[in-house]
Structures are given as structure tokens and as C-alpha cells.
Subunit: 501 residues, 2 copies
């Protein structure tokens, strides 16, 4: 065995399990439920899935795939396009898989990311036949050390009948010690989860596994597919400023100190760009307690703004990724990667009092938010952890540009076409137009704030016309709507390519 491999494989009794990707892929059977490591394109198994793609050229078989969150192209593009995925959960973000989902060719179970571990415990997805998990090392005392993400790997490894490990020797050894693995007991037998600060370590450095369950170890040097986000633009800069000004007002009101509170920042370009805005602000000594660390977090660490970042995965753009992952030791003492059951745990989110910033597709005049369904029917990515955070955070903030598709779509609508976050879960709405602070307001009090502060000027009049008519038609009820016309904007868009009436 090569030295590079040997030093990553501490548990010598497993040496005879090292096989080729093809041999490992051959272990999977048609109909298997398979758990996979990986969270937002980070730390996913890559070579075994590609071997499954090869196998599918000569053989018809299908599996159900449950992961941490979205995976890279190996699974969510190539394996999906090979027709191997029957059912997929709990999050995805690849255009290829998205298309198959929206043609009804792949079943997709979207869900709160903090729920998945409980569903595994309760055997809801069916018995998990295999967990395929990327690891940086297997220590001699039997810990599997994850790579760029933890996601659901601990619970999947625990409940799977068999485990295939992708031992990724290109992963920096500096990752050893970054993870903090803690798995709660089953419900009813469980005590409090003792995280009381973003920096707390409560678990072990790796996933304790039963070596007997490991049926194959495949050596990999493939790196994660880089993040797909686009850089900040003029409008996201304005949104960032709107957020900063809102936080300054919170400090003035005595609700926050200048140290703020641990920040959670959502996935995608907009959430990343808004977080980036802290770089040129007066804020310092910031802590991140989030799900995914995107580019902005590392820029903020480099700039001395962020002192510590806790999350379940690190997903970076190509260039920054190279720099960070090759200098991991520089960041190691400022990072902690936890299972998503811990990063997204309501108990901890509420205890710490997070400031949570997630992106929305659209919001309505009463403050309901749609994060997932374009025109109420086509899945975009999934709800991810946005619900875990928004409902439990001190501040559940949603950001979106006020328009999409060159202005033919208004992101502020009479009624969102799919509700992911109800009016009770949305504290603050921010667009490039301004800020609507909805806390403590009745539905009709929210309307002027959302229309005047957040909607694009092209749509304000149209929104007021809808609302005023609805007030009249319902006799000024709690939440005025005209159900005959409420979705006419989408119908107009489908027919005429614009929401403008």
C-alpha cells in the first residue's frame, strides 16, 4: 500500500477492504436506499457514483439517495441523468436533477434539514442499505474523519447496514480536528445538546464506526465541484447596506450590541453577497453559526472581521477554494464543522439568538415567503435549512431582489404561489429598495411597509390596486384577498411573458 494511503488508514484491519470504484459500485443493488455524504457540493462521494454511472450503461437499476444537502455533478447530474436515481432528498441544486424532478422523472422529497436525522432514526426512508461516505482519514481508533462537510454522515453511518468509504487523499490533513461530531440519543432518551456558544466543541473529532460495517474503501483524489455563486453586484451591495443599517438601528434600539449575535447566512449568490457587505462595515469580532460557509466568510476571516465560524460544510468558488483548502492550517482554529442536526437544531438556534439571513424567491404583501417553487409548481432547490433558522432565530431576515428575469417578474406579489415560510416566521424583508421590519405587526400593518419599502417601483401601483380591491371585497377582513384574481400575475406572466398588467 502506498504511504499516502497508509497514513490515512489507521485501522490496519481494513487494509483488505481497499478496492476499485467499480468493485465498490457493484455492491449496490437495484432498489437500495443509499445514504451519501455531502452538503452543498462539499464532501460528497464522487468516484463510486461515477462508477455507478458506468455500470448503468449496461444495466438497469435504481436507488433512492438521501444526503446532507445538494451534491455535485457526479450524483446530481451524471447519476441522475443515467436514470439511476428513483427518489432523492433532502436538498438539491443542480439544473440537471432539477429538470428531471420537474418532469416527474425523479421523485424529490424536500424537507427541513434538521428533520432528516430524526427521519433516519425512525426508519422513514426505509432501511438504509449503504452509506457512501467521503473521508479524509480513518483513525486507528476507528474514527472516520469527514472532509469539507459533515452533513448527515454520522447518522447515515450509524443506521446504514453497510458502509463504503471514499478515502480522499487529496483532502488536507489539517481537516483532522476541525470536525465536532455529536449525535443526540433517540428522542425521549436525550438530554440537552450542550452547545451554548458558536465556538463550543461538544463531541469527537470523527464519526465512530463499527469497522465490520465497512464493506469497501475506495481511494479518491477527486476534489469537490466548486460553488456556482456569482459575485456581488450593485444591487446586492445596496441590499447589504440595507441590512447593515437595519442592524445599526437595532443597536440604537438596545436590542443588539455592537458585537451583534452569531450570524447564519443562507445559500446562493444573494445571501453570500449580502454577508460580504460586512467587510467594509464597522462591525468586528463577528461569529458565524451557519449551515454552509461560502466565499464571504473566508474573506471576512481574512479581513479580521470574523473570529470564528461554525457550520456543516465549506463550499467555495474555484479560485478561493484552492487558496483556502491548501492553507487549511491557517483557518483550522477558527473553524468547526458539525453534523447538520447540530448546526440546524432549533434548540441551539434559539438559545444563541442567531441573526439569520436567507434568500427568497418571492414574498407577498403579508410577509409570507416562497423559497422553493417557481410559479408555485416548479422546484428550484428546496427549503434547506431556511425554515430551521428563520423560525428559531432572534431575527429571521429574508433577502431578495425586488424583481427577477429583467423586471418581467415582481418578487413581491399579492400572495406567494408556494409558502415555505409563513407570515409568522418572517421578521424582516430586505430588497435593494429597502427594509420592511414586520415584527409585531398585524397583516394589514405590514402591507404598506412591504409595498413601499421593498417592491420595485414598476409594481407598486399594481400591488396597491390589488390590495385596495381586496380590502373592499372582504369588508376589511384580517387578511384581505380576492381569490378570483390573486394568482393572475402568474397567469399573465405565463401568457404574456410579464407580470406587468
Amino acid at each position: 500500500m502506498k504511504a499516502t494511503i497508509e497514513k490515512r488508514l489507521g485501522l490496519k484491519e481494513l487494509a483488505d477492504k481497499v478496492v476499485s470504484a467499480e468493485e465498490a459500485a457493484a455492491l449496490i443493488s437495484d432498489g437500495d436506499v443509499v445514504g451519501m455524504s455531502g452538503f452543498t457540493r462539499a464532501g460528497d462521494a464522487k468516484v463510486v457514483p461515477l462508477a455507478l454511472v458506468e455500470r448503468a450503461k449496461n444495466e438497469k437499476f435504481q436507488i433512492d439517495v438521501y444526503t446532507g444537502a445538494s451534491l455535485g455533478p457526479e450524483v446530481d447530474r451524471y447519476l441522475a441523468e443515467a436514470g439511476v436515481i428513483r427518489k432523492r432528498g433532502p436538498y438539491q441544486g443542480e439544473p440537471a436533477l432539477r429538470n428531471l424532478i420537474n418532469k416527474g422523472e425523479v421523485l424529490y422529497v424536500d424537507g427541513h434539514l434538521s428533520h432528516v436525522a430524526e427521519l433516519v432514526r425512525q426508519n422513514i426512508y426505509g432501511p438504509i442499505k449503504f452509506a457512501i461516505i467521503e473521508a479524509c482519514a480513518i483513525t486507528k481508533d476507528g474514527y472516520l474523519i469527514p472532509t469539507n462537510s459533515v452533513g448527515n454522515s454520522p447518522i447515515l453511518a450509524d443506521f446504514a447496514e453497510n458502509i463504503i468509504v471514499e478515502l480522499n487523499i487529496s483532502c488536507s490533513e489539517s481537516f483532522i480536528g476541525i470536525h465536532d461530531i455529536y449525535v443526540p440519543e433517540k428522542q425521549g432518551d436525550r438530554g440537552p445538546i450542550p452547545v451554548v456558544s458558536a465556538t463550543d466543541r461538544i463531541g469527537e473529532i470523527g464519526i465512530k464506526i463499527d469497522p465490520k460495517k465497512i464493506k469497501a474503501i475506495v481511494i479518491s483524489e477527486n476534489t469537490d465541484a466548486p460553488s456556482l455563486i456569482v459575485p456581488p453586484d450593485e444591487e446586492t451591495d445596496i441590499m447589504a447596506n440595507n441590512l447593515l443599517n437595519f442592524l445599526r438601528d437595532e443597536i440604537k434600539a438596545g436590542r443588539l450590541t455592537s458585537k451583534l449575535a452569531p450570524i447564519q447566512s443562507g445559500v446562493g449568490s444573494v445571501a453570500n453577497a449580502v454577508l460580504q457587505g460586512f467587510q467594509d462595515s464597522e462591525f468586528e469580532d463577528l461569529e458565524i453559526y451557519s449551515e454552509v460557509l461560502q466565499d464571504a466568510v473566508f474573506h471576512l476571516i481574512d479581513a479580521g472581521k470574523v473570529t470564528f465560524a461554525s457550520a456543516t460544510s465549506i463550499t467555495l468558488s474555484e479560485e478561493l477554494g484552492k487558496e483556502v483548502f491548501e492553507n487549511m492550517d491557517k483557518y483550522a482554529d477558527k473553524l468547526c464543522l458539525r453534523p447538520q442536526e447540530i448546526t440546524n437544531q432549533p434548540e441551539i438556534i434559539r438559545r444563541l439568538g442567531l441573526i439569520s439571513v436567507n434568500a427568497a424567491l418571492e414574498a407577498d404583501i403579508y410577509g409570507n415567503v416562497n423559497s422553493t417553487h417557481v410559479s408555485g409548481t416548479r422546484m428550484m432547490n428546496g427549503i434547506g435549512g431556511s425554515g430551521d433558522f428563520a423560525r428559531n432565530a432572534r431575527l429571521g431576515i429574508f433577502v431578495t431582489k425586488s424583481y427577477a428575469k429583467g423586471g418581467t417578474i415582481s418578487s413581491i406579489v399579492p400572495m406567494v404561489s408556494h409558502v415555505d415560510h409563513t407570515e409568522h416566521d418572517v421578521d424582516v424583508l430586505i430588497t435593494e429598495q429597502g427594509v420592511a421590519d414586520l415584527r409585531g405587526l398585524a397583516p394589514k400593518e405590514r402591507v404598506p411597509l412591504i409595498i413601499e419599502n421593498c417592491a420595485h417601483p414598476d409594481y407598486k401601483e399594481q400591488l396597491w390596486a390589488y390590495y385596495n380591491d381586496a380590502v373592499k371585497k372582504t369588508g376589511n377582513s384580517q387578511t384581505p384577498h380576492n381569490l378570483e384574481k390573486v394568482f393572475s400575475w402568474y397567469v399573465n406572466y405565463a401568457k404574456n411573458g410579464t407580470m406587468v398588467e
Copy 2:
């Protein structure tokens, strides 16, 4: 001072604060934000509000009223009808107040009941000028002992500038020792909330108050308005059996033991009737960890089925109330009343792994639930704690009859007209027709279960026609909808008095 009063007023320095209801009511000013005790018609202040009603006959003034949950007629009927309430939160259930809300005469802020304490801490409702709190006693070491409910009284008493106590000497002294008052520190400074079992006591027997804040003590002998629920009927009996059979299947599947898990049961007639169904079942040694204890809980205690019940209030029908409250010592060691921030805390709900059963107004073919808005516009009661429980419980179960208003309304619709619980928060749907277990299913997998097992036969065909058309129109997307027709059932009902096409 009368002996009956003297023994309830341990803190002798407060003797000179005892005044008439009129004098206390005169302390309130136009524009005040007022916190009040009370939760689902239990433990609310009654005599001071009635004095405010009197005062309003000669004087125009308005206040904002925040409570635990719904209050009895003294506030939510008479005070509301007197025009004194400008704004009301976080829950109500009186037809009089409901009408004023739906005519736009009272602003109503509906919200998750576990959120209210955090909003008070953050001063979102504005500075609370007065808390008016019903108490069973004030002990000599300065604890205010609540009566039939705790609700938000501890946090309101803590943050209010002034306190008016309604010392209710008709409240049985056996209530002393039943309450367990624990108030978390502010977010960020807080540790875990150490409840690990429904029976745990973690706090003190009363609300520790600063005696200087007490500006008036009014003696009261008024009892709570009784619960408005109607008894079980043939259909709720079937629903109860459906629930019991579902739980039996969970035991067979190894997900529950015969001891089940602590049960939360929602407000209203249907949730009460369904819980009542346990009485003739094989289940024993049950624990309740709920918000409100309605009639069924006491029947189950009497029948030896329930060994312990934790909640934030006790709301009983007239006859049963007399029996229970006059024999409180018989129940004292089987009960614990906590602040609603503890009963409804996500941390504890998830840790204990509750079985949560709440009533819905309507559900849709994809599993979204509407608990609050009739036809999407008219407020019924509010979301209450249903979101706290459904999202965090081991089992988030919703119950509803498959139809309303004599069959002219289907409780299963293409798309709910208001979303309180998203498809991600609804595990199981139960009607008198049957059970739909939605866990782990993609939206299109849920449709046949909901239509075939839960919808009323009169509407099945119409639901299938909608769905099949939507599948065709969207090319079988993730969540097929035809936004042009999705709300036509409500439009039909408004025009023709029926949803039947």
C-alpha cells in the same frame, strides 16, 4: 382586612395596595400597552377589565392587549365591544372579538405562542405599561402564584413597568405548588432549558416579583368562563379510532413502544374528542406534555390512563370544571403548569419527541394545512401553539373532519387558502375517512393518500380532476397546480353556497 384575603396576601407591605377594581382601572391610560394573564379562557384577569368597560362608557381610550392566549368574555367580548382594544395578540377565540378583527376594527397580531416571550424581551410590542395578572396568592417571600394558567405572565410581569394583581380568593389553595415557573435568560446568555421529562420541575412555585411594581391589588371571586367545546360525536369517535390504529401500527413498526410518548393535544372540540378516544383503548401510563388541558385529560386521569399532565393552562367545561377545581388536591401531584415559553419550547418538544395532535380547518392535496383563515381571509382563532408543536414533534398529526358546513365545504382542497403549516411540517393527516401518513413522501406521492384516505367521497372525483389537469398543464412538475383554477372552489362557495361543482 378579611381573613380570606389576609391569608392570600403574604407580603404584608402590600396591604395598602388593595383597592377597588374602578381605582385600579383608572391607572390605565389611553395608548398603554397592557400585558394580561390568561390562556384559553383560564386564569385571566376579569374584574379590572370589567371596570375598564364601565369606564369606557364615559371616556374614549384605547389600549393594546397582549396575553398568553385567548381570554374569556370580560376582555375578548365586553372590552373589545366597548372599543377599548386597539390591537390584540397573540391568540383569541371569542366570536365578538373575531368579528371586530374581520371588520378591521381591531388589529390582530397572530403568532407562534413560543415567540411571544422573545418579542417581549426585545421590546417589540412597545414598552409594557401595565401587566394585569390574576393570582391565587402572593406569598410572604414575594412570589405571585398564578391560578388556572401561567401563559406569558412571568415574562409580562418581568418586563411591565407596573403590575395590577387580581387576587382571586375563589381559586383553590391547592393550586399552590402546581406551577413550575422558569424563565430563560436572554438569548445568548442562556443555557439549556433542563426539562428532560414531562414530569420534571425546574423552576419555582410562583412568579418572583418586585413588590415596588405592584400598583394595585384587586380582590376577585369571579371564576373563569367555561370552555366552549362540544362533546365527541360519531365522527370524532371514528377519527379517534383512526389515530389509535395509526399509533398501533407505529408500535408494530418499532417506532413507538406501548407507552407511546408524551402527548400534546390541541385546542377545540375535535382535538379534545380525539384525545378522549384513548379512554377505551389499551394504552396506559400516558403522559401529557401539552399547552391546554381540556376535559379529556381529566377523564383520562380519572380513568387511570394518564399518570401526569404538564401544560400551561386548564380549560374545562362548566360541570367538569366545578368538579375538578373543587377537588384540586386530588389532582395536584399529577399536574404541572408551566410558562408557555416552556410548554411550547422547540428545544423541549423535540427532545421529548412528542406526539402532537392539532386540529386543522383545511388541508390540501400536498399536505399543507390552514389552521386560521376561513377562505384565506377571515381569521378564525389564530395559529396558537400548533406550529411550535407540529414542526418539532416526533409526530406532527393534524385532524379535521373531511367536510364543514353540512358538506358544502370540503376540508380537503386543491390548495389551502392560507398556509399555517407547510407540507414540511405535516406528518400525518387524519379525518373520519381515514389516515394519510405523509412522512418521507414526495408531493405527488402524497396526493393519492390524501384524496383516497382523507377526502369526503363527494369531493374525491373533483379533487382528482383538478390534480390530473394540473399534472398535464405543468408537464408533471414537482407540485402540479393550475393557478388559474386553484381557488375556484372558494369562488364557487361564495357565489353558490357550495364547493360542489
